[in-house]
């Protein structure tokens, strides 16, 4: 489905000029190794609401993977990240091409422009797949407000994340945790699980009760998913995560993990966190120093407990929902996979 769609878009782009297909190459490579979580939650959300899993549903669901691609490509531009999924980030890929081919001018700027445009394409294509999925108009009309809300709220969540990274270091600890959880909700929990699931449910014409259960399940599971991501961003094995060790520390992400660590840190530890967090030149020794402080505060245990509590609540919401049992089983497995993963 995705392969066919990208082949069609390659034709449209190549008709303008053969070089334009380099943008499709970048998207294909990026999507070759994703977890496809968002399409899966959308698809099984619809199945759970009693809809058949036909090609039209798959096509609409796949649109969410392109939305995710847009978010990742632009996120890496904004954070100036080097790698994604074990490959060079898209802006780095284009910058490398600029260098290899001996093109004139600033290679970094060339890379940035290529990635902004490729992300824009993915964002446009996401809407295109959704609208031209072949789903009946009443189903699309039901789901579209959630699709639109997903896009706007993700940008809001990303904006909050960006604001957070430039917040002063001396925020009140509880306030910092509350802000970090709000960022998680909007930039990750909602758009990874809640919104795709609700879109699926709305496509299926699910009733208010099931939609409410989906929302509860999706938010809890989504927050647990992102808390796992935050732990991996600090302690993950680069060979599994596909990102350099300590990348989140270098970028200065104000995660719940960091906020918890600050709350339990000594004054000296807190000063070290403020000094090192968000330092783009942070080396391996600095990463290790921050990791040791975070471990010492037992913040990772706190976050593991949050993940356990949220996952339990999510499974309970799912267990009591009136829905298709096969879909219930798959959704339950998906959440287990998303919250216990190592990458």
């Amino acid at each position: 489905m995705l392969v066919t769609f990208l082949a069609e878009q390659r034709q449209v782009l190549s008709a303008v000029a053969p070089e334009c297909s380099e943008m499709v190459d970048a998207v294909s490579d990026l999507l070759s190794v994703g977890k496809r979580l968002r399409p899966a939650f959308c698809y099984w959300g619809a199945r759970g609401g009693g809809r058949d899993g036909d090609d039209a549903l798959v096509r609409a669901a796949v649109g969410l993977e392109l939305f995710q691609a847009a978010a990742l490509i632009h996120d890496d531009v904004m954070d100036d990240s080097d790698t994604r999924r074990g490959m060079p980030a898209v802006h780095r890929r284009f910058a490398a091409q600029h260098h290899e081919r001996g093109r004139l001018g600033d290679g970094e700027r060339y890379g940035l422009a290529g990635a902004v445009l490729t992300g824009d394409l993915c964002l446009a294509w996401s809407g295109q797949l959704f609208s031209t999925s072949g789903l009946d108009a009443p189903a699309l009309d039901r789901a579209r407000p959630m699709f639109d809300r997903m896009r706007t709220e993700l940008m809001a969540g990303q904006f909050l994340d960006m604001l957070g990274q430039s917040d002063p270091h001396d925020l009140d600890a509880d306030e910092a945790i509350e802000r970090a959880r709000r960022v998680i909700r909007y930039k990750s929990a909602k758009y990874t699980i809640e919104h795709p699931l609700m879109i699926g449910g709305l496509l299926a014409g699910a009733d208010e009760t099931l939609l409410a259960a989906y929302s509860e399940f999706g938010l809890d599971a989504g927050e647990a998913f992102q808390l796992r991501d935050d732990l991996l961003g600090v302690f993950g094995d680069p060979s599994h995560t596909g990102k350099p060790a300590g990348d989140d520390l270098r970028e200065g992400k104000r995660t719940v993990l960091i906020a918890c660590a600050r709350r339990s840190a000594t004054a000296a530890e807190a000063r070290t966190i403020s000094r090192l967090l968000g330092d783009p030149g942070l080396d391996a020794a600095g990463v290790a120093e921050l990791q040791a402080i975070i471990r010492r505060t037992e913040a990772p245990l706190e976050v593991e407990q949050m993940i356990a509590d949220l996952t339990k609540a999510a499974h309970q919401a799912l267990a009591s929902a009136r829905m298709d049992d096969v879909a219930r089983g798959v959704l339950s497995d998906l959440v287990t996979a998303a919250t216990t993963r190592a990458r």
Copy 2:
């Protein structure tokens, strides 16, 4: 219409966090001074095909203005432009806020992130306005493939423009002119006039003959529009264009104007062009030197002649089309305004 839509989106964003409405402020300010060309061509394209000018049509047409906003915001990020429409470019606006509020970290990166996200919002909202315009489903189904093509082809055109800026300086002169015209077609002519007009025609259910006339008219007029833009980018009065003098020269844009100048330049002049074009630090004296060379080659006269020929052909295509006469008159006036403007 646009004001109402932006007010709705402000509510969605403010519900996430009040600060997120800063993105709407940036969009509102940018859109407060536009020429609204694309919505006008869409609207009058539909009227020309016999459709009533109801609210639903206006809403779909206004979606094109948000698409334009997305393109401008991201274009300024890619070119690292300082100003747009006489105001700071959106990334500069956010960078200035970072500075004024004493936020932590890199203000330029903060500005870039804010502008990438604001552009993404505009791109998403453009599709949202189109899809939720209230137009009947058959009309939307007819026009959607052109709407989708417009988005993909614009990104292709922008990609070509970016490639062009890093092309070697010693391209064959005729080849350079051909490439520059291709960039114009895709990054400007099609999406400024041809695509909006065709979208309008398709919404109205216009027949193949009228659509063919629209396409011919739109491409010719659109190319003339962009050639005027290129002249203004080198010789325009900053107090009218809202952009610094010589901005296109500093960015190294490979316009038709530049390609024509190179073709008629002496060897010494050609070396000067290669040396100065695309120099980000180009000062007023450098701009004046390039302007003098371009004038000496009489390239501006060549381009004026192209504009005259294209405009004439466009008016002829319009004159012989079978369409509503009021719409014909307005479209004719719009093209005159777009190709003779000083800003």
